[in-house]
């Protein structure tokens, strides 16, 4: 009899856990949905990774969350003042046969195109992939950099 009571309590606790899980899940889904809606260019309904674009005095820095990728699967292109980051997130073959309990990670092609607000020095752009974050550094073109103008006195 006593075991039955205990089991009942445990079931209640797990129901509560599940409700909290649900809340967390809804939060996460909304975050994802809003991130997608806020992103500039997903014409084809592709997955768009989250980006930060920071303007510093003499350069722009773009950071893109791309966890668990291979460097060679990421393409960065610049065309007409638009920077495009594209690639493909491949599922891990090792677990192709495994039973899947959760699959929240997005796989497949993704693309993000950012319209750059200033002219950049095209031949000085660098891109580095580290800790699952792609960082593209775009030095501003000479005419877009702030310049100090000497004030002359007669």
């Amino acid at each position: 009899m006593s075991t039955q009571v205990r089991r009942y309590e445990r079931r209640n606790a797990s129901l509560w856990d599940q409700l909290e899980s649900l809340q967390e899940e809804v939060d996460r889904l909304l975050d994802t949905a809003f991130a997608a809606a806020g992103s500039a260019s997903t014409l084809w309904g592709e997955h768009a990774p989250a980006v930060d674009l920071v303007e510093e005095p003499d350069r722009l820095v773009l950071r893109v969350d791309l966890p668990g990728m291979r460097r060679e699967d990421i393409q960065v292109t610049l065309h007409d003042g638009c920077l495009t980051v594209a690639g493909e997130m491949r599922p891990d073959d090792r677990y192709a046969q495994a039973q899947v309990h959760r699959a929240e990670r997005v796989t497949g092609r993704f693309q993000r195109t950012i319209s750059l607000p200033v002219a950049v020095a095209v031949d000085q752009i660098t891109a580095r992939y580290r800790d699952g974050v792609l960082e593209v550094v775009l030095p501003k073109a000479e005419e877009a950099r702030p310049k100090q103008i000497q004030v002359q006195a007669d």
Partner: protein, 138 residues
């Protein structure tokens, strides 16, 4: 008796105080990012993959308390100067997720690997849970 070796997802609930700030896009009581995870099960083990871009090995914390596995990843600080023209990554926050492990898992042999912001945890099943081929004799 029901015996179900599952890795359940669980989480702590803490209310955010205004001072802690929230960087989520929707009002939420949560003040950390919940990493997206995949959970696989093979006959020998459970595998948890968690996405934590921007987290280095130094910022990673995997703790096992009883049957509760907690993963925490702190992003490394990025340049503070300049202004954000786009900000979707919610920098300065930490990733956090808690899993409830089945007691039958062999928690002494849990391994963790962090590669390009992807944390992979391998949780071997206890020997007695692994499928064993039983020879049939006449």
């Amino acid at each position: 008796m029901q015996k179900d070796p599952v890795v359940q997802q669980n989480q702590e609930v803490k209310t955010a105080t205004p001072a802690e700030g929230r960087v989520t896009r929707m009002p939420s009581r949560r003040r950390w990012l919940v990493p997206a995870v995949n959970i696989y099960e093979t006959p020998q083990e459970f595998v948890i993959e968690a996405e934590m871009p921007g987290v280095t090995r130094d910022g990673l914390e995997v703790t096992l308390e009883g049957n509760q596995l907690t993963i925490v990843g702190r992003r490394t600080a990025e340049t503070a100067e300049g202004r954000f023209l786009l900000r979707e990554r919610g920098s300065g926050m930490e990733y956090r997720r808690v899993f409830e492990l089945d007691p039958a898992l062999d928690t002494n042999r849990v391994t963790a690997r962090l590669e390009q912001g992807l944390l992979t945890l391998v949780l071997p099943k206890a020997q007695e849970l692994q499928p064993r081929r039983i020879p049939v004799t006449d």
